[in-house]
Each structure stands twice: as structure tokens, then as C-alpha cells.
């Protein structure tokens, strides 16, 4: 398939034409012509490299009623993603080569994005002993990111060993930073609001203490550490300090932590229950600043589909997590691009280039992600209409679940088209299949 994209603004620059052929960007230039090519008019649209998500819950195997690899892949493509990392907390847990290969194969079959499995750090996410990390790394799924997400690797000795062990295959441990003894029963950010609402508090210190410990461990053993869903101003400070000391640490922030605050909990509507919890206005500003200055490397969705019955309940018994794939870019446009904190090159860096580098997807040749939109590179890209605005309707989402915290909210930007290795997965804002 040959595609000729006319007049797209690559990274928001001057309009140019892009010719996609044989899975690659064949040419970028002015007034390109190609006989027989499918022409896509991209006047007014911004072209960005295909987004890479470091943190997606696809729920398969185990909770196919909430999401499948296929429905999650479609949601991802509609959000402009060309690769997503599928978290390990499935049922069974992705803690063996067999399970990660199953997820990887399901992703191939869906063929809408590259599904990159994350392996569990410990057997059954129980935090007791290491899973067979090397076997997962050597499997067809080629796992490089390991995480017990949903649970913290709380035992410091085990965390140290995990950090060390994955160096052998250039892996990284993605830590869900939450000291469990400080968050027993926790329901929302601990502060003025939790005091009034009578919901048990999740103190910022429970996240910050683990990040502080882990950056010291990573430095001590010379290993790579990635911090999942950073949510507090204090965490940003610790990361900034660690990076200034040369620690090999990277970090991600979710769209919801960039936009929403604990004020959402006032309604007691569990659609706003998430772990780590929504924080304060000050935290949101610090996270935006941290992302803008590069202290936080990546936006990662923590897309967490849940069946209706797991959310339509009292707050305490609802499961934590919210959808994110389809609105991630829109939220970043609203929270960072429109206020002038990040330009389009910055968006590409934080949502494609750096997450791909963290996941070790940048050097995969034909199957690489996070590469520049230049001749010879794999043709993974999206076209965004930055002028469009729309109100989020959960019923219209491609995800099998409906737990979007943005329901009824007007957000900017619309993904018009997404291409995975030159093939359209989304055209005219609709999934091609």
C-alpha cells in the first residue's frame, strides 16, 4: 500500500507531503506525486510519530468482559498509538514466557498496534521471589519492561535484585511506587479533602519514600529504573535530584494526573477512583512542569478498563483505574500544548520518542517505534486536527469498558488518522477495522 499524505505539518512545522511505501516513509517534501497512491488530504493537520504507551491494561487473559487485546488495540489506534506495553496483572499473571507470548500473539493477530508485553517482576505479583525474567526476555515477546504494577515491589532486597538481574538483557524495572504499610485501606489523596470526606488517605510520602529508596538502589547497583505514574510534586523533586546525580531513572505521568484533581472525589463517584489517587492542584502544576522540563520522561496512560459492576458501587468497594488511551493526546494538548508548556516536538518526544527508548523499541529496525518522521524510517505516525474540539461520550469509545473520567468534558484535538508501518489503522477518525 502506498499512501500520499498532502500538506501535513510535521511536528507543527511548515506543510509538507509524506509518501509512505512498503511500511516506510519513502519521502518527505513539497508537491510530491505518486501514481496509484491513496491520497490523504492533511491540510491543517499536525503529523506526529506514532505514540508509544508504556502502561496499558488490556485485561486479556482473564477479564475479557472489561477489555481484550483487540478492543484495547483499537482504542489505542484511535488515540494515535502504534505501540502499547501491556501490563502484567492479567489472570493468569504474565509472569512466564508462555503468558507473555500469548499476549504478544493476540496483539499480532489484532494487528492494530504493536502490543509489547510487560513481564511481572515477581511470581504472581506477590512480591516474594523473582519471576523467570530472562525467559520472558528471550521469548518471542522480547520483554524488556518488567513491572508488578498494581503492587509495589516493596521488599528492598528483592527490588535490588530485580534491578540488578535485568541488566543482563538491558531490561528495566517499572516500579509502582507505593509503600503498602502506609496505604492500607487508602481511598484517596490524604489531605484536607480526605479528612472531610471520611475516605482513608493515601499520603504522598508513601509514593515519594519508595521512589527515594529506589533511585538510591538503582544508583548503587548501576541499573535502570523506571517509575510508573508519578503523582506528586515531591516525587518530581526527588526525580530531579536523582537525575542531577546521574541516576539512570526515567518516569512517566498519566493524562489524568495532568488534568484532574482530588476535587473529583467530592462526588464519591468511583469513576474517579484510581491508584495512585488524583492529587492536589499544586501536584498537577508540578507534574506539568516536570513533564515540560523533561524531569518526567513520558506520558503513559495507565489505561485501566473496568466492567460496569466494578465501578457502579460505593467508592470503597470499586476497583481503582480509569480509561486513557483514546483521550491521552487530547489531555496533553489541553494541559501542556495550549498553555504553552510543550510544543509539538515536545509532545512527540514525551509520547513517542522517549517511551520507545525506555521500552527499547527504538532500535528494532523495521519494527522500531519512536523514530523521526524522515525518509527511510518506519511509517508509524498519526495526523491530528488540533483545532477540533469534542465532548467525550463514553458510549462512543472503542474500549469495551466505559469508565472514562472525561465523560461530558470538552477536550481539544482529534486524531484523524493513524498509520502502523504505512497501513492506516484509523482514517477519518474511525478505526479501519
Amino acid at each position: 500500500m502506498t499512501v500520499l499524505i498532502k500538506g501535513a505539518r510535521v511536528l507543527g512545522g511548515e506543510p509538507a507531503d509524506l509518501l509512505l511505501a512498503d511500511g516506510r516513509v519513502a519521502e518527505v517534501g513539497q508537491r510530491l506525486d505518486a501514481a496509484g497512491a491513496t491520497v490523504v488530504d492533511a491540510g491543517g493537520l499536525v503529523a506526529l510519530p506514532g505514540l508509544v504507551d508504556l502502561h496499558t491494561h488490556l485485561r486479556e487473559p482473564g477479564r475479557e468482559d472489561a477489555e481484550t487485546v483487540e478492543t484495547g488495540s483499537r482504542a489505542a489506534a484511535l488515540g494515535g498509538f502504534t505501540a502499547v506495553h501491556a501490563m502484567a496483572n492479567t489472570d493468569p499473571v504474565a509472569d512466564t514466557a508462555g503468558v507473555v507470548e500469548q499476549v504478544w500473539r493476540l496483539g499480532r493477530k489484532a494487528g492494530l498496534v504493536d502490543v509489547v508485553p510487560v513481564g511481572a517482576v515477581t511470581v504472581g505479583l506477590r512480591g516474594e521471589r523473582l519471576a523467570e525474567l530472562g525467559a520472558m526476555a528471550d521469548s518471542a515477546a522480547r520483554v524488556r519492561v518488567f513491572s508488578d504494577d498494581g503492587h509495589c515491589v516493596a521488599d528492598p532486597a528483592l527490588m535490588r535484585r530485580a534491578l540488578e538481574y535485568v541488566k543482563a538483557f538491558d531490561g528495566v524495572v517499572a516500579q509502582h511506587a507505593e509503600e503498602p504499610r502506609l496505604t492500607a485501606g487508602a481511598q484517596m489523596n490524604e489531605g484536607d479533602r480526605s479528612a472531610r470526606l471520611g475516605l482513608a488517605g493515601w499520603p504522598a510520602a508513601a509514593e515519594e519514600a519508595v521512589i527515594a529508596r529506589d533511585v538510591l538502589l538503582a544508583q548503587h547497583v548501576g541499573a535502570r529504573l523506571h517509575v510508573c505514574h508519578v503523582s506528586t510534586a515531591g516525587s518530581v523533586e526527588i526525580l530531579r535530584w536523582a537525575k542531577s546525580r546521574g541516576v539512570q531513572v526515567t518516569a512517566e505521568v498519566t493524562p489524568h494526573h495532568l488534568l484532574l484533581t482530588e476535587a473529583c472525589a467530592e462526588s464519591y463517584d468511583p469513576v474517579f477512583k484510581v491508584n495512585p489517587p488524583l492529587r492536589t492542584d499544586e501536584d498537577v502544576l508540578a507534574l506539568r512542569q516536570g513533564l515540560a522540563d523533561g524531569t518526567i520522561d513520558a506520558v503513559a496512560t495507565d489505561h485501566a478498563p473496568h466492567a460496569v459492576e466494578d465501578k457502579e458501587s460505593e467508592w470503597a468497594s470499586a476497583r481503582p483505574g480509569m480509561l486513557g488511551l483514546e483521550q491521552a493526546l487530547a489531555v496533553v494538548v489541553q494541559a501542556l500544548v495550549e498553555p504553552g508548556l510543550l510544543d509539538w516536538a515536545g509532545v512527540a518526544d514525551r509520547m513517542s520518542v522517549r517511551p520507545a527508548a525506555i521500552g527499547r523499541l527504538s532500535g528494532l529496525g523495521d519494527r522500531a517505534h519512536g523514530r523521526p518522521l524522515a525518509a527511510g524510517e518506519p511509517a508509524n505516525l498519526l495526523l491530528l486536527d488540533p483545532a477540533a474540539r469534542s465532548v467525550v461520550d463514553p458510549a462512543a469509545l472503542a474500549s469495551r469498558s466505559r469508565n472514562s473520567p472525561y465523560a461530558g468534558r470538552e477536550l481539544p484535538g482529534r486524531v484523524v488518522a493513524t498509520f502502523l508501518r504505512g497501513e492506516a489503522t484509523v482514517l477519518d477518525g474511525k478505526a479501519v477495522r
Binding site: 479528612a195 458501587s313 467508592w315
Partner: protein, 305 residues
Amino acid sequence: MKRHLLESADLDRADATLVLDTAAQIDQALAGREVKKLPTLRGRTVVNLFYEDSTRTRISFELAAKRLSADVINFSAKGSSVSKGESLKDTALTLEAMGSDAIVVRHSASGAPHRLAHWVQGSVVNAGDGTHEHPTQALLDAYTIRRRLGRLDGVRVVVVGDVLHSRVARSNVWLLTTLGAEVTLVAPPTLLPVGVGSWPVTVSYDLDAVLPKADVVMMLRVQLERMTASFFPSAREYSRRYGLDAVRMAALGDDAIVMHPGPMNRGMEIAADVADSVRSTIVEQVGNGVSVRMAVLYLLLGGNA
């Protein structure tokens, strides 16, 4: 009044005063009557939906509804469809389909009544939700104070104990300050929520320092399992530092009263001779609870079916 009574933080001064005045009228109307019953809510149905055991609160609401001639259904979560996994929403919709006009709900999850109010057409009364609020308890406490001291404006109320886990404390903080009282919270720092600094109250760790100026001392129930979670070292130490005994009671002004929402741990937060003293309003609070809950049901259901 609004359609629901979900939290005392919702009540403005006029609404709260209306409830207290209505309770007073009901007391007057029933005083000296042989048949303590008003026909006001005849034909209306009130459901007591209790997800936690609380015999005293449930009985108080039941009596209140019956004295207004409403039909009352008690739905205890234990041994019902709830224990078979039915959701709060399905239970609420079922009860409403059967024609309930008001649901009085007690639940261990903070905010459960708010969710319920979102799903049903009828009125919802919060009879205690998790560690959030227990607004009718605060209303009956305010009613008791007003009856004993003749006013609420400027009254100095000291609330002592496990504020962190107490829905009674939260409801009283909002209601009493709305009605003009000055509230002081006394507890070990472990039993005060982070964020208490944003409440319209004074905080102290020293009970002896605040007692001489108190008009009202409200003792909260302290659960012994807090001790195992290191909120305090031992029952003895808690009692010594934060319990109200006869020696401490002697430091109170002549007209000061002692309150407790019950059930009490005698010998822990309150000594037996204090609980049974003339200052104690503990039994009176229970009686006032029925009147105040009658007032709430009357005002919410309009009484004009």
C-alpha cells in the same frame, strides 16, 4: 429542606434550625399524650437499609417513622440478597420498585448514601456512612445542647477522642459551627486526620487545658482495635490522658454538660460515675434522637401525601 439528608455539611443555618424547631414542636405536641403517634406520614413507606449492625440507630429511626404513622421496613444486609452479592444499586432500585418513599441507610463505606441518592427518586437519609458523617446524630446532639443550655450560639463544645475515624465528630464539627458554636477537638495526634487544620475548629492535645472553659464535653467512643494499629500504646494510657473521670469532671464549670453518642466503653473514654452523673445527657440524647429523626422524616417527606 433539600430532598435528601446526606451530610450536615450540606445544612445551612436556616435548615438546621428548622429541624431543631420542628423537633421541639413534635415534642410539645406529644407531651402528655397517651398515644404518642401523629398521622402525618400515613401511607408513606420508610425503609431502613442497614449494612452495618446498629440496633440503637435502627430502632430510633424505626420508632420515629412509626410515630409519624409511616409503614416501616427493616432491611438488614445480613442474611439477605446482599450477602449473596447483590449490589447497593440493585438493592436500592428493588426497594424503590416496591414503593419506598425514603431510604434510611447505614453503610460502612463513606459516600454510600450519596451514590444511593444518585440512583433513586425518593429521599435518602444518611444514618451513618463509614468514617464520613452521621448527620442525625449531630442534629440530636445540637437539639440536646439547645434544650439544656438554651442556646447554641457561642457555646464552647469540646469533642474528645477518635476524631479520625468518627462520623459523629465530622457531623458535629460542621453542624455545631454552622449553628454558631465554638468547637475544640481533643485527641492524640494519631487520631486526628491530616488536614484537620482546614476545619473551622481549635485543636488541642491537652484535655485538662480545655476543660475549665467548656460548656459541653462530648466524649467519642474509642475502639480497642485502634490500639493494635499503634494509634495509642494502651487502653490505660489512653484513659489516663484522654478519658473523662470524676477528677477531670470537677474541673468543669457549674452548668457544663457531658455527652456521649453511645455505645460507651465505661472505664475507657468515660468513667461510670461520670456517665451516670447529673451532668450526663447520655440517656436524654437517646430520647431526643427519636424526636429529631421524626422532624427529619417529616420535613423530607413533606407530610402531605
